[in-house]
Symmetry: C2
Subunit: 291 residues, 2 copies
């Protein structure tokens, strides 16, 4: 069993990006600059957005954090986005989700200029992804592709079973892995809550991508020997034996499934840490494309 | 065995559209207007585009056919598109493919205003399709959904196997049928040239969608009893016994597969006739959305 170490891989990627930024500096080129917009005081969102800003600083990117009140009107937010769209210093920016209820998420995502949409959430970028055209692939799917690539996990001709059809992970993964691309060319089965005989299907999988948000859903008796497992789930379970009072678990019963796996991602430390690294990668790409 | 009669269904849809146009006329509303742009003298393309224009006339739509020389520059074509984008009389328009080699298809498709892109080829519309947002679903996938719907073919929880990953048919079908929608909620396996053990997979299918362009590829021994088969292929085979000197065959060995099928589309007369009907439907939608 080989652990797909997202923490280490993300650190490698950040190091590579830092080297590229250094080179850009030496050449007098434009340094990538990411902006993040956040509304309100949700603790988890602030922690996450701060981690993104800090990651920018560590690799040498410019970064701007725009904190707006929870009560910001949709119009004011659209205006902020228009300013970022027009600012040549800003290569890419994100609007941290979730947004307050009085704001229409979709309207906001549509307002971000596709060439600065480093989250890859704009329909134009999703469409380009589906058409296998150059775009920004959103951070989690992009991170999974990168992990599979760096560990040389063969996907061509393999049977991939994706669990969960979310627009953020399951659906793009099923699209990407079936495409003609380096990490791709797989036969992909997309499963979800309406799927019948799920176990029959997962037992056929060479690679399982679990993204349903049900803790320890995938058990050892649902996979064949030498399976590769990508666990996208992350749930906090109360655990009195831990100092913190909780533990993080994925969608995979790790201990038992790991025994049957050729490759498997841990939780935490698997797919999670890859996302910020891929956001940085997209920002670097945006800077290169715009210059 | 029940034949999924595309010819009849398409005629029904056109009749319904004609009734809606009549109502619009009576109310003094805007009548839908489709424009088609075609470059050069390719016989098949002209036949096809003429059929679209004629279909418009029959249902009472306005229509405009813009025939340009094979030698039209990319710039001139982009200019023509800009005029159509700006013309409030035109609700939707299509640029007939293939385009001459000196023109970049993707650049042209990107230039069509998404709200007039009734072919549904613009990345923004493909992205909205992938995100299950209101959009124009392109004619062939839209026609297949409509056929399944009108014959009440159950898709929810069924195992759909899609053969062929083209951007025009296979890929959007796999996306659409796995979504939470009336004709959807299926477990979908996307197969293509790199798929191994294909027969093992098709034998599990409740519904097969064959879109690979290999005549009579799907044989009876590859499907289970009571399968539903959608045949998107259409190939001309030389046949001296026919007056025309050829016959049209699909991707399915119809005679033998039909015997095992619950529902099956014939070729010709199945998916084919649905495409123009769905183009008209998209044009009607465009007109309703713009007014």
């Amino acid at each position: 069993m080989i652990l797909l170490d997202g923490k280490k891989t993300a650190a490698d990627i950040k190091e590579e990006i830092a080297l590229e930024v250094n080179e850009l500096k030496n050449k007098g080129g434009k340094i990538p600059h990411l902006a993040a917009v956040i509304l309100g005081d949700n603790g988890a969102s602030i922690t996450y957005v701060n981690a993104k800003v800090k990651a920018c600083e560590r690799v040498g990117f410019g970064s701007t954090l725009i904190r707006l009140s929870e009560n910001t009107s949709e119009e004011a937010l659209l205006n902020e986005i228009a300013i970022l769209n027009a600012d040549p210093e800003i290569d890419g920016f994100i609007v941290q989700l979730p947004l307050p209820k009085h704001i229409d998420d979709q309207k906001i995502l549509m307002a971000v200029a596709p060439e600065k949409d480093v989250d890859g959430f704009h329909p134009t970028n999703v469409g380009k992804m589906a058409l296998n055209l150059p775009t920004f692939i959103s951070a989690t799917p992009f991170g999974i592709l990168e992990l599979l690539d760096r560990y040389n996990v063969e996907t061509s001709g393999k049977h991939v079973v994706v669990l969960g059809r979310s627009h953020i992970v399951g659906s793009p993964m099923s699209i990407l892995l079936s495409q003609k691309r380096k990490v791709g060319n797989a036969t992909v089965t997309m499963c979800h809550s309406r799927t019948k005989n799920l176990k029959e299907i997962t037992l056929q999988a060479d690679i399982v991508i679990a993204a349903i948000g049900i803790p320890e859903f995938l058990k050892a008796d649902m996979v064949k020997d030498n399976v590769t497992v990508i666990d996208v789930g992350i749930t906090r379970l109360v655990d009195a034996s831990k100092k913190s009072g909780f533990r993080l678990v994925g969608d995979v019963a790790f201990e038992e499934v790991a025994k049957k796996s050729e490759f498997i991602t841990p939780v935490p430390g698997g797919v999670g840490p890859m996302t910020i690294a891929m956001l940085l990668k997209n920002t670097l790409l945006a800077c290169q494309r715009n210059s």
